[in-house]
Amino acid sequence: MKAAVVVFPGSNCDRDCKVAVERSTGAPVEMVWHQETTLPAGVDLIVLPGGFSYGDYLRCGAIAALSPIMPAVKDAADRGVAVLGICNGFQMLCEAGMLPGALLRNAGLKYVCKPVELDVTNAQTRFTAAYGSKRRVRMTQGNGDGNYFADAETLDRIEGEGQVVFRYVDNPNGSARDIAGIVSARGNVLGMMPHPDRAFEPELGSADGADLFRSVMASA
């Protein structure tokens, strides 16, 4: 079992993700610079971390989505390797076309940083299986552009296919249909705005994020 965290210029949760995965699962985590064109052999999980890659210039995640490492990430996803994009990582996955929709400026215009309650709306994904019958989790969120948008047809489709994995209990940013996290049609790519990497030990206010990392590593 092995995981990789991709580091972009402006990433600021890369270390958090490494520590979170290591402490939650015991799996070693390699850091991969975005200019690389290959991933370490045999990775079971690729994490695109939060932060402000390229200063959020043009659009959040847009330039990072075209980084030299991204073809290797797409290729791994096509082979069924798990890919987790958190916050800025979620924005990158949408920009790269690996997940449907886009993240707009928060409806209230403010950067919102606070713990959020989430409903686990699909506990049968490889990212959420460890939640079992637990349907309410708590994680911290911090973003200015976390307002999930997709056209009505896409929203209907992803809801119908069980691709909506997390919903906000109290929507902090205007996201369509309270969506906080979605998986790809195949189920191996998860993008979410709240941070499991900031909620993996009780000392952080919640340990609910740890189960997500345990789920996905156990599924490998």
Binding site: L58, I63, L66, L104, A107, L109, N147, F149, G174
Partner: protein, 81 residues
């Protein structure tokens, strides 16, 4: 020849433009109450060497599709002169 390209990128109709709403509120506050439907977009300008204008325009459109606009939420308009 060297051409000047201007790309206008804007949120599609129906996509909530919170910046536009905030600017509209400020204009109303200044007394311009008749202002409605404010949308905030961006303009990207650059020079481009190309054999002719039509080819340059096609190049710039390709740039929009690949990077300059996110067509899930944004539309764009290209001017090449």
């Amino acid at each position: 020849m060297s051409l000047k390209a201007k790309v206008h990128v804007y949120l599609k109709p129906g996509v909530l433009d919170v910046q536009g709403k905030a600017v509209e509120g400020a204009l109303h506050g200044l007394g311009w109450g008749d202002v409605a439907n404010v949308r905030v977009g961006k303009t990207i300008e650059f020079d481009l060497k190309s054999a002719d204008r039509a080819a340059a325009e096609a190049e710039v459109k390709a740039m929009c599709e690949k990077l300059l606009a996110n067509t899930v939420i944004e539309g764009y308009r290209v001017e090449v002169a």
